[in-house]
Amino acid sequence: MEVLQSKPTTDISSKCPKVLLVDDEESVLLSLERFLRNESVDIHCVTSPIEALELVSHCSFAVVVADLRMPKMDGIELLERIQQISPETIRMMLTADAQIQVVANAVNRGKVHNFFTKPWCRDTVRNAVRQAVNQYELARKNRHLQMLNTMQATDLNRLNKRLQKNVSELAQAQETITTIREQEIEIGSRIQKTLLVESPPDSLPGVRLAHKVQPSERIDGDFLDFFQFSDTCFDILVGDVMGKGVPAALLGAAIKSQFMRSLSSLYSESSDEPPSIASIINYTNRAITEELIELESYVTLFYARFDLKAKTISYVGCGHPPGILFRGDKGIQELLQGKHMPLGFSHSELYASTTVPLKPGDSVFLYSDGLTEMRNEKGEFFGQENLMQCLRKTSWHIPELLIEEVYSQVTNFSAPHSFADDLTCIAIQIEAPRLQTPIVFSEKKFTSSLCSLKPMRQTLRNFTTPYFNDKQICELELALTEAATNIIQHVHQSFVGETIDLEFVVFPDRAVMLIRYKGEPFDQTTVSLPVFDGSKDSGFGLFIISQMVDEVHYINEQTNNNCIYMTKNFKEKTQ
């Protein structure tokens, strides 16, 4: 008994299939064990069914062979309970009693797989045990495979879910990137508005100034700054940071503030006079070059100082498009060409300024390369040549109109939706004193109605009689009538309450008629060309206007505010 009991507990972890033999007679157990010993199975023998149940509930047995008649619990009950604990275990029964009722009970209740009668045939029992072990092993392997299968299916499912999650995360990430990009554009544009573009000083006596900055989608880091030292001396600087987006915009802001620092440091060192522009640029260049080199960036710049007392403009051009100077008395345009490298190339670059005379009546136009590098559909640049031509056409009368004209020309030239670069430009006009060149300005407001046409002509005649001969006045009257009729009939469509403002400005050599009105801008490109064969009785208006005055521009100044600008020279065209 002791021998038999010592075995099961120690070998319980053996890897061979386990066979449990249960019989209250030790001799039976010994005999069974003996002829099964050579099988590659791990045999456990117990004499008590209770003990057998204990073992079965702790480890799995391939086969249990139990005696039918045992005290306390018979074989049928034992096998029945084992079936409940471990259903896959193959159950066999030994008995000396081969009554049919007993066998039926064993099969029905104990779900016995095999039945042996004592005395048994060794081979039968051995074969039966062998087969049972195989069957058990096979079932186990099957279960294992099934489990593996299930696990793999679960794994696959999980992987699939993860993949789906990844895909949706990727989509989300992309959405986030788009949002971030939009935010970047928004931030850049805000930086540009608030940090990069300084508004010009409110009052600069004797100076008329207009500027326009249109940030591109990508933000180029164009910046614009003004430093006013006195009523007669101020600096304007137009710069462009290499690079795009928020980094360029931030760098532009940093450089702008460095200029301010340079200026205040130099100011305290020097006397009351503002520091020279060369010293400001040299100071700034030394302060920022190291950082710019590290950031692999640089800054192009046009820095100009207007000294109205000394009647000069001093400038330093650092790799930036040249300024354009208009000589009011001669009517010619000069280039203010810079000769220096951009800031951020070298510590040792010594910047020097150039000074040229600046007389009343002169104007200066400064811009960044976004303007001239605008491309048309063929990929050609707008270019400096076009810009000069466009400026010449405006005759540099009024800075605001000049800027408008340049913008409309550039926009017309460029391929649609191709505002790739920031567009920055500024026009500065040194006004001629009134005593030398009297400028007469008259204006009158009219109701937008066809009934106003005659009073308008009368007013125009009163305005212009001192300056023009009768023929010229008739021509101006015709131009005015055609333009006003277009506004009344097509823009205002005879709505009550609209008005038309007529302004008349006299220059030494010409008069300018401005017709201001609110509403949709009048688009002259949609008007068909006139037909001269008598087959059509309308469509002559714009053609007539263009022939009656020396210049005409249809300008949309801002939303809803429009202006038709016409110039007539005092000297008649020689034809």
Partner: protein, 120 residues
């Protein structure tokens, strides 16, 4: 608009009143002249009172010419002031219209023309 009309031998001489013929009164002129153009007559428009004509006024006169021409009759103009004449020349209408200095010249032109004989 009150037009002055003189009929002589199937020719109506129409005087356009007022100093201006522009967008403000071009429609009124067309309304006044249209029933007259329906009459089986040749026409002379006397523009001598007009100091100012714009493209709308010109359009109204041109429309009258086309109406008359479509029914095989004629319309001649006379008495164009310098600025009005300049406008007609600018838009090449002096090639489309027969233009005379005054009524007498225009009437004379009709009398020597065979068209008038055919019409009567």
């Amino acid at each position: 608009m009150k037009l002055s009309i003189e009929r002589t031998n199937n020719i109506a001489v129409v005087g356009i009143p007022g100093e201006d013929l522009d967008a403000q009164n071009a429609k009124a002129f067309k309304k006044a002249v249209t029933p007259l153009l329906e009459e089986n007559l040749n026409f002379i428009f006397d523009l001598s009172e007009l100091n100012f004509v714009d493209s709308s006024g010109l359009g109204a006169i041109l429309s009258s010419l086309r109406h008359v021409n479509n029914t095989g009759r004629d319309l001649k103009l006379c008495g164009l002031s310098t600025p009005v004449r300049a406008l007609f020349e600018l838009v090449r209408m002096h090639r489309i219209f027969d233009i005379y200095n005054d009524r007498d010249e225009a009437l004379l032109a009709y009398q020597t023309s065979t068209d008038v004989v055919e019409l009567t």
